[in-house]
């Protein structure tokens, strides 16, 4: 169904008549459930943000006489001794995950696109997509075994080449890389499929004329495939930059241990240890609010840049 633009003069009519005459009214009705659900589950709960500024005690009631304490929760969080260390780790781990999370799937998608044997292509797609579905709790256990310095397969391979075994999960400089590489390995199959889909949208005529003009396979990748993928890459980058302060709680929580906190502790695990587990609602809301504000700022900025520089629009 095509939407029809209501006539300008209709705005002067009474409300009911305007609704009756609006040619798009069935569309609005269909939109209604989504609007209501968004309202109930996304907008109404925003009221709960106020508990970040309270010393919230459940027994006094959600709407009851809570004690207002201003920014005390925030100053507590920012004054936690390891907060800046955790913030730094979060930014490093998360930005590396983000960068590799774009580079790796784009590269693999472009390479896979050149593969002409379709059975092989499909097999590779399925295999690299598979880890995306496994939860970190299970993968974490597998990784602890695989990376073990005594019995793990990775160290068996390393020592085959005569190198000393490395205790990856207790090694301060190796630990963030374990996090980054394993996260990228787990998720790149999913993004790769998105990029492959975007590649199929590129006009085959471009390739044909490029071949006629004598462009080799790498020239075609560089000047046709990559520019064709640019909007998709921009979209993925804009979406992921909002997640900058989420370095992946489940993953880090499963793999983190006391010997690598200096490089492995992220904001989420720090706050968890500081007592979110023991019903400190106000503090966890304050952290959530802080992270949302940062995400909102980054997202707006990234969108603005994408819009101005790459002429890219989501809306």
């Amino acid at each position: 169904m095509d939407t029809v633009k209501p006539k300008k003069d209709s705005l002067k009519k009474p409300l009911l008549a305007r609704i009756r005459d609006n040619p798009n009214k069935s569309l609005y009705v269909m939109l209604l459930p989504a609007v209501i659900i968004t309202l109930i589950f996304c907008y109404v709960p925003m009221y709960g943000i106020i508990i970040a500024f309270q010393n919230f005690k459940p027994v006094r009631g959600m709407f009851g006489a809570q004690e207002w304490i201003g920014f005390t929760n925030f100053s507590y969080i920012f004054s936690m001794p390891d907060f800046y260390m955790a913030l730094k780790n979060t930014l490093i781990i998360s930005s590396m995950k983000m960068a590799l999370g774009i580079i790796v799937p784009v590269t693999v998608a472009i390479l896979l696109n050149e593969v002409r044997i379709s059975a092989y292509k499909r097999a590779v797609q399925t295999i690299v997509y598979f880890p995306y579905f496994i939860s970190w709790i299970i993968l974490g256990g597998i990784m602890i075994d695989a990376l073990s310095p005594t019995t793990g397969i990775v160290n068996s391979i390393i020592s085959f080449f005569g190198i000393e075994p490395v205790y990856f999960l207790a090694n301060k400089s190796a630990f963030p890389w374990v996090l980054i590489i394993s996260e990228v390995w787990k998720n790149y199959g999913f993004s790769m499929i998105l990029y492959l889909a975007a590649i199929t949208n590129i006009d085959p005529g471009l390739y044909e004329s490029a071949i006629v003009d004598g462009a080799g396979i790498f020239k075609r990748m560089r000047f046709i495939t990559l520019p064709g993928l640019a909007p998709m890459i921009a979209l993925m980058a804009v979406l992921s930059i909002g997640q900058l302060l989420n370095a992946g709680f489940e993953q880090v929580f499963t793999l983190l241990n006391d010997s690598v906190v200096e490089t492995g502790e992220i904001i989420d695990t720090l706050v968890y240890k500081m007592g979110i587990g023991s019903s400190m609602y106000s503090m966890s809301t304050a952290v959530g609010l802080f992270k949302s504000l940062v995400s909102m700022t980054l997202l707006s900025f990234a969108y603005y840049v994408a819009y101005k520089k790459a002429d890219y629009k989501v809306f």
Binding site: V59, G64, L169, S279, M280
Partner: protein
């Protein structure tokens, strides 16, 4: 914008109305309170409550029964005239969250159980009924005996400004204290004697890790189990710390004042010994313990990879029975904790014997009925000698764990010790088997089965030996170091303490794996004072003075 506001307002009104709905039901209650601890209400009364659903793996119901309608609820209605109605029931993992939500909506049932900090906040808000008079008047003699047999801490912790504001849920903390378990068949095989000091224990641990005690030709055994979570789990090595006079995580009395147990002088030596053991890199302490969960440790114990473990008497049932089932030649011996000096038993770490609190809403019309429910529970669960009643209310041949359906539950500080003492008399021929109540009889039958050659009943015999050799000794010589932190510390202190304990775990773990030198412990001590530990200690001692 106006419309949006109207919708929001509508929501507020709707939720507001439903929040008020709970208090509306007026129940006149029964002013005619029957005399005595077991008098029946005529006409019957209704009490509302909320509860978690007992673990379905343990509790099975006959057709048509469930947690809201079962042997217990029917018997209570019939014999006591009390009809218990649950406003909601929820899986036990959800109980705490659901309870907080309920508290936020201010809809309280007549009675329910909660944790110490929740109890504290409800008292502060004045939501609870004063039970002092009712407890004195309607509490049965057995109830009063049970509540004080483990010391007066339980009642004290439920008393605020001289008023009894809750019935404590007594736990078995003193019977749960740790002892040292050693594989004696491994000792024999390696020609070692039973360790009597901490140093000898460490030597045995090294031998168990390096000299292939299970004789399978593989280097797959370990010395001392150390849990990667550092603290936590049934078998974490706190007994090892206790051996050096250190009481991690507990607030213990030292020279008349309370002190945080991880700052006691013995901690340094315990950490140093652990560091030396780890430094050997021969699995005296498992090399990768920091990545291993409690379950991994449990698994290794059950499959016979360890010959030393700290734990309470009932680890004989699991995981140690698993070792015996795999290898009938395996022999474990439980002994009291060791210290640096042979023959000197250190005090063993224990907590206050309260697992939670049963509270009564101030709006409840018949607060004394909850005391009566508790009387009823203790009579049926502990003081009954009739096997038929035991099988109906506690554990039947067909349905197990029936007792978990009682609307109120609380245990006894010394029930198992008492039961095993009775068993001992029968085993030694001083008393007749017919004098045993259902619980000791169960224990007795297990031991007899083992003596007749049933390898799977080995744990019954070991539990008996462990309680006789260790728990009884701890009690007779009063070797308990009580954790006195059952009071609710205020939020600011709690937040500061979270920082301190995080720091503690990191420093201790790094000292054990040798990344930090032991001198870091001295820095930990000074950091502890600087980061709020001193304030916390002062606050706690101020509270402690009022308790004396």
């Amino acid at each position: 914008m106006k419309k949006l506001f109207a919708i929001l307002l509508a929501f507020a009104v709707v939720t507001g109305i439903s929040a008020c709905g709970g208090g509306g039901e007026e129940d006149p209650g029964n002013t005619n309170i029957p005399e005595g601890p077991f008098g029946k209400y005529e006409p019957g009364i209704t009490l509302t409550s909320v509860r978690d659903i007992p673990n379905p793996a343990v509790v099975k119901y006959p057709d048509g029964d469930d947690v809201e309608n079962n042997v217990w609820t029917r018997a209570i209605k019939e014999e006591m005239g009390i009809n218990v109605k649950y406003e909601w029931t929820v899986d036990s993992s959800q109980y705490a969250t659901r309870l907080n939500t309920m508290m936020a909506s201010k809809q309280f049932p007549d009675f329910f159980y909660l944790t110490a900090s929740q109890f504290q906040s409800l008292v502060e808000e004045g939501m609870l009924a004063d039970l002092s008079g009712h407890y004195d008047k309607y509490g049965s003699d057995d109830l009063k005996r049970v509540y004080t047999e483990g010391g007066d801490n339980a009642i004290k912790s439920a008393t605020v400004d001289g008023k009894l504001m809750a019935l404590p849920w007594i736990s078995m903390a003193k019977e749960d204290t740790q002892m040292l378990w050693v594989r004696t068949d491994w000792l024999q095989k390696l020609n070692l004697k039973m360790p009597e000091t901490m140093d000898e224990l460490i030597d045995v641990a090294i031998a168990f890790a390096t000299r292939d005690p299970d004789g399978n030709g593989k280097n797959d055994t370990f010395g001392l189990p150390v849990n990667g979570d550092t603290y936590g789990g049934l078998m974490w090595h706190k007994g090892f710390f206790n051996g050096y006079g250190s009481y991690p995580l507990a607030w213990v009395e030292n020279n008349g004042k309370l002190q945080y147990g991880s700052t006691l002088p013995g901690t340094r030596e315990a950490l140093l010994k652990l560091q030396q053991m780890y430094k050997r890199k021969d699995n005296t302490i498992e090399l990768e313990f920091i990545n291993k969960t409690y379950f991994s440790l449990y698994d290794k114990l059950a499959t016979g990879k360890y010959g030393i473990v700290y734990g309470p008497y009932y680890i004989a049932i699991s995981p140690l029975q698993g070792v015996k089932t795999r290898d009938p030649k395996a022999e474990w011996k439980p002994v009291p904790l060791l210290s640096k000096k042979a023959g000197e038993i250190p005090k063993v770490q224990t907590s206050v014997d309260v697992a939670g609190y049963w509270v009564v809403s101030k709006d409840c019309k018949n607060p004394e009925a909850v005391i009566k429910l508790m009387n009823y529970w203790y009579e049926k669960f502990y003081f009954n000698k009739d096997t038929a009643i035991y099988e109906k209310f506690v554990n039947g041949p067909e349905y197990t764990g029936i007792y978990l359906n009682s609307p109120v539950i609380s245990y006894r500080a010394w029930n198992n010790l008492e039961a095993y003492m009775q068993v001992k008399d029968v085993l030694e021929g001083k008393a007749d088997k017919s004098t045993l109540g259902p619980i000791p009889l169960d224990y007795y039958n297990g031991i007899k089965k083992y003596q007749q050659g049933d390898n799977d009943s080995w744990s019954a015999q070991m539990c008996y030996e462990a309680v006789m050799n260790c728990t009884r000794l701890y009690k007779d010589k009063n070797l308990f170091m009580n954790d006195m932190s059952y009071f609710a510390i205020d939020d600011i202190t709690a937040q500061k303490f979270a920082v301190l304990q995080k720091n503690e775990r990191e420093v201790f773990t790094k000292i054990i794996i040798g990344e930090y030198d032991i001198s870091k412990y001295d820095q930990f001590l000074s950091d502890f004072d600087k980061l709020g530990g001193k304030e916390a200690t002062d606050a706690i001692n101020k509270w402690y003075e009022t308790q004396k």
